[in-house]
């Protein structure tokens, strides 16, 4: 049993505690979902369970945590690793070795297991996880879902009694995430391993849980069976009914079009004779499986990639001869990782960096910065180091650094990835507001719900071509993703 007893923790240098007086017991064989808005202390709680707090993160603690009777205060996480395993959010940053087999062995080597034991466990797990196919594969070549599976297998190889997962699906697409969660359930049922999982898309893992723990402001405010908590979760907006807010307009003029694009990476053809017309004030969503070329397509729209054949026409002009930078004041682009946009000392300076590059007249700066920060609800963070902001706020800060150039068209690559429900709603209403001000948006996403509620048009990229997806069918997909049993 993991027992947390009146535990309070304040990170070094932080003014207020991230966890306040938390008491929690986790029994063997349980499946617990930990929910709550961004910044409520979920990740901190996970790290307190296996002793990363206080051993890896400095800070002030009161109360205590014990794992099967061992006080985490006196036992470093490395010593607890055989009892409690942890899977982190970013698959990229938790794999240490270069191939799958060595990765699975890494933890067992740390436990100083005998060679025979390690080989038998690797054999067993690779069958269980169906990993033999890429046993010797180079880890950076695996997809996100595969990496996350390898991370889980590597933790499991150490035969822990408890596994704590901190938003393990936030970097995965919808289908992969559902498979991953089903797999976790199977593990829990067949091997009796206790699972504690942080998941902000509650809808999709609700059916697996025996117990839900709801956190807010560093405290546990509710703890019980899913059925008992349904009403409260709805009230908190953690489970929301589906509603479509966006309405389609009549026909406006075409502002961006792609004509017969062909593109290949080496021998692999990605885009084949692809055409697309985007009209003013549309929100066009592009969906499709992982690796089908959605990001590649987006990068063609502002010249980050150039087609092997075909052309892109922006506001009536062929962009073939223009550099991406020279198009930046007409078409804004936000890639997948907002951190790539954030490096200046303050948010204001971050926006000024863009304005300077675009040679915008100094007299316009203040007005533009004020406008961007207002639209994105970031006014209070003007003087903050943008990388210190929360995940949702960083996404918006990165978007601010793009829209400050006042482009007519926005191209967004998975703008809601990793965001919790509240932040996603916020992002959506921002896109709606920008649309009302005349902005046209093309975005790639895996989030059917977001698409169904906010896109004016949906297209699927498959085998290098785009096909229209009727909004009705997207809505039924979105609804099936929220299959909630009350």
């Amino acid at each position: 049993m993991i027992r947390m007893d009146r535990f309070t923790f304040t990170y070094g240098g932080a003014g207020k505690p991230s966890l306040r007086d938390v008491s929690l017991e986790i029994n063997e064989g349980e499946f617990v979902i930990l929910v709550g808005p961004s910044g409520c202390g979920k990740s901190t709680l996970c790290r307190a369970l296996n002793g990363l707090i206080p051993h890896f993160y400095g800070g002030n603690i009161e109360g205590g945590v014990s794992v099967d009777g061992q006080e985490t205060r006196h036992t470093p996480p490395a010593k607890l690793a055989g009892i409690i395993g942890m899977v982190f959010q970013d698959p990229e940053n938790q794999l240490v070795m270069t191939n799958v087999e060595n990765e699975m062995a890494f933890g067992m080597e740390n436990l100083a297991l005998s060679r025979e034991e390690m080989h038998s466990r690797v054999a067993q797990l690779s069958t269980y996880f169906d990993l033999q196919r890429f046993f010797k594969r180079f880890i950076p070549e695996l997809s996100g879902g595969e990496k996350q599976k390898v991370a889980l297998a590597s933790v499991l190889a150490m035969r822990p009694k408890y596994i704590v997962l901190d938003e393990p699906t936030s970097q995965l697409d919808e289908e992969t995430a559902v498979l991953f969660l089903d797999f976790l359930k199977r593990l829990n049922r067949e091997q009796g391993i206790a699972i504690v999982i942080v998941e902000h898309r509650l809808e999709r893992c609700l059916r697996h849980a025996q117990r839900i723990v709801l956190m807010e402001g560093g405290r546990i405010i509710l703890d019980g069976k899913p059925k008992e908590l349904m009403l409260a979760l709805r009230e908190k907006g953690l489970i929301a009914d589906f509603s479509r807010k966006t309405v389609e307009d009549g026909h406006s003029s075409v502002v961006l079009s792609a004509r017969s694009l062909d593109f290949a990476y080496g021998e692999t053809k990605i885009l084949k004779d692809l055409s697309l017309d985007v009209r003013s004030q549309e929100i066009v969503a592009i969906v499709g499986a992982n690796g089908c070329g959605k990001s590649t397509l987006l990068k063609h729209l502002n010249g980050l990639l150039r087609p092997k054949a075909g052309k892109v026409v922006l506001m009536g002009q062929d962009i073939e001869k223009s550099t991406t930078a020279s198009l930046a004041n007409q078409i804004g682009y936000l890639g997948q990782n907002p951190n790539n946009y954030l490096f200046e000392e303050t948010l204001t300076k971050e926006l000024e960096f863009t304005l300077k590059n675009l040679s915008i007249d100094h007299r316009e700066w203040k007005e533009r910065i004020d406008w961007s920060l207002k639209v994105l609800d970031l006014e209070r963070y003007r003087e903050m180091f943008p990388r210190d902001l929360s995940c949702g706020e960083r996404e918006r800060a990165a978007l601010a650094s793009v829209i400050v150039g006042r482009p007519k068209i926005l191209v967004l690559d998975e703008p809601t990835r990793g965001l919790d429900y509240g932040n996603k709603e916020k992002m959506a209403s921002i896109l709606d507001a920008l649309r009302e001000q005349g902005m046209t948006t093309v975005l790639v996403t895996h989030d059917y719900r977001f698409v169904a509620e906010h896109a004016t048009r949906v297209m699927r990229l498959e085998e290098g071509r785009l096909t229209d997806v009727p909004l009705d069918s997207i809505m039924s997909l979105a609804k099936s993703a929220i299959c909630v049993e009350a």
Binding site: N50, L52, H55, F56, P77, A78, K79, A81, G85, M86, F88, D90, N93, Q94, L95, V96, M97, T98, N99, E101, N102, A105, F106, G107, E109, L111, A112, L113, R115, M118, V122, K136, P140, S154, V155, M158, Y265, K299, L304, T323, A325, A328, G332, Y333, L334, G335, Q336, N339, N340, Y341, L342, F343, F353, T354, N357, L358, R387, S401, V402, G405
Partner: protein, 290 residues
């Protein structure tokens, strides 16, 4: 997506071999190439090393590495000719005398360089970084783990810098305008997010390693560290080539002073010595374990 990672994952008898005999081979060839200056010896070694990389199916990768060395060699020739010291003039261009001494000296130096590169490509292209790590980690655990993570993260960081560049372009930074200095200057802001991202990553990795029990106790090893008898023989024979080569060098075999007037001569004793040395290295071609 192209991966910037030097190791070539091929199925060859050289790849299948334990890393240690390969490291011994590379070290021995390298030491001899520093010592020996005779063109005949160096040329034979170079041909042999090329045979080894061919057997390892990494000839193409090796040649593309050598491509850059050709410029260095060209510079060596130019330099030796311009500052020639010898007196045996072969021909004269304008006022520059091209001497036999300088040509031979430059040839010897270039062969030495090529040999070192080819030998090292056996190491970089056929020894898996994880294996290299395991051998190195015997000499000190934690510091060497850092090295392994660096190799593991290299492709990630390379991809990172690509997407940061994209983000910058989308914010109006022109990367391909102006001269070399302007281009370099405009790239400076890329370094900042790259550095910050890498720092975040390294913290997360350290945390993940800690959570997986790294450093709690003395580790065991997943792989069988025992070499087969054959691999052991390959390793010892390659190592034996060093004292043999040194002894022969002291006796004057393989030692040519081209600046001092040595000429390109090969006698039967030279052929015999080279043959013995190559024979000591040759078992590597047989490879090992199935």
């Amino acid at each position: 997506m192209p991966l910037l990672f030097p190791y070539q994952d091929k199925d060859s008898r050289i790849h299948r071999m334990d890393a240690r005999p390969k490291i011994a081979f590379v070290a021995a060839i390298f030491l001899l190439s520093i010592l020996i200056s005779d063109i005949f010896y160096l040329a034979v070694f170079l041909v042999f090393a090329l045979v080894v990389v061919t057997a390892a199916k990494v000839l193409r990768a090796t040649l593309s590495l050598l491509k850059y060395t050709v410029y260095v060699a060209a510079f060596l020739f130019l330099f030796s000719i311009l500052f020639s010291q010898g007196s045996t003039v072969i021909f004269t261009i304008w006022i520059i005398q091209v001497t036999q001494e300088s040509i031979l000296f430059a040839t010897s130096m270039s062969l030495r360089l090529f040999l070192a590169i080819v030998a090292f490509s056996v190491l970089t292209f056929t020894v898996h970084p994880d294996d290299l790590l395991k051998i190195l980690s015997r000499f000190g655990v934690k510091s060497m783990t850092g090295l392994s993570i660096a190799t593991r993260m290299y492709p990630t960081i390379a991809a990172d810098s690509g997407s940061i560049e994209d983000a910058m372009k989308a914010r109006g930074v022109e990367f391909d305008k102006g001269n070399v200095i302007a281009k370099a200057k405009v790239r400076a802001p890329v370094m900042m997010p790259l550095l910050l991202n890498s720092m975040d990553r390294s913290m997360e990795i350290a945390e993940a390693m800690e959570a997986r029990g790294f450093g709690a106790r003395r580790r065991t090893s997943y792989y069988d560290p025992i070499m087969s008898r054959r691999e052991r023989a390959i390793m010892y024979l390659a190592l034996a080539a060093v004292p043999f080569g040194v002894a022969m060098f002291i006796l004057g075999y393989g030692n040519a002073n081209y600046i001092g007037g040595s000429t390109l001569t090969v006698d039967s004793m030279d052929v015999l010595v080279v043959a013995v040395e190559v024979l000591l290295f040759a078992p590597i071609l047989l490879g090992a374990r199935k």
